[in-house]
């Protein structure tokens, strides 16, 4: 069973609350100065009070075209130029040297060899030095 003396009355508590309400602190001058300085800095940073054209605008993300993205993925214009050159050269060599490739695929260097293929034997002769160099005439003939 709760004794009345075990608790402060509501009226006494209300007196304490009223005392606390009237005990509101007065901000110091230093505090006010700090808060107002903060306010100034926020206004200056946001450009508040300035016309719209004078306010700093947030940086917009740069949008790139698909071609620019593609160029970036191969290392920029230098990489792109190198890749294009390599592509053209590879195409030219591929089209211009079928004879040499055939020679290389079917022979060995420095003597006679027998290539086994599906049970049949093909005898080839040794290469001459110029067999390893793409023929200018072959390239010219292929166009």
């Amino acid at each position: 069973m709760t004794q009345r003396e075990d608790f402060l009355s509501d009226a006494d508590l209300d007196t304490l609350f009223a005392d606390a309400q009237s005990d509101a602190p007065v901000p110091s001058d230093a505090f006010m100065a700090r808060v107002l300085a903060d306010a100034d800095s926020v206004q200056e940073a946001s450009g508040a009070g300035l016309p719209d054209w004078a306010r700093s605008k947030p940086a917009q993300p740069v949008r790139k075209s698909w071609f620019a993205n593609l160029l970036d993925s191969v290392g920029g214009w230098r990489g792109g130029a190198g890749l294009a050159t390599a592509t053209v050269m590879g195409l030219a060599i591929g089209l211009g040297a079928p004879t040499t490739v055939t020679d290389l695929a079917s022979g060995t260097w420095g003597g006679t060899a027998v290539a086994q293929s599906a049970g049949a034997s093909i005898e080839t002769t040794s290469y001459a030095l110029d067999d390893l160099v793409p023929s200018f005439y072959d390239l010219a003939a292929e166009g």
């Binding site: 505090f31 926020v42 508040a48």
Partner: protein
Amino acid sequence: MPFDAQNDTSDDALLIAFGNGDRLAARVLTDRHAPRVIGYAARLLKDRAEAEDVAQDAMMRLWKIAPEWRTGEAKVTTWLYRVVTNLCTDRLRKKRGTGLDEVAEPEDGKPSQDAVLMQKQRVAALDAALHTLPDRQREAVVLRHIEGLSNPEIAQVLEIGVEAVESLTARGKRALAKALADQRETLGFEDDTA
């Protein structure tokens, strides 16, 4: 706009004016809210210097949110109380981690006949008793009985339901009444129980 004229301006209007570059609006808002913000923080933290730091931080957040402030969505006071509550909660958690959550006992002493001294003694006793309460009870009691907020406003500040607020304030008040009962005479209430 003259300073006096701005004293009648609503918080919302002042905040929007501040966002539009009105420096005087900051002064009026600070004058209007800083005392209660410091008082509330001091009651939660029991440290005036720390309370001023929290109040400055809360006001800074108010300045920053000013350009995005929308009239009618929230009251500036409610918003400030919520920010201060959260900032104080963070600080109290950190303090507990370092074992600094000591609750100062109210000063012993004979009841003074001087009204001012008696008031200070009562406030000190109340503050000490408040710090024996759990955080949420203390926040609810201070907001309800010292800051004078309504239960729905407290519900917004503490981000809980109104019924939970009622429960917190009732339990908190009862705990205070019990904690302060043995100081009845010291606090000048001896005649009340006679």
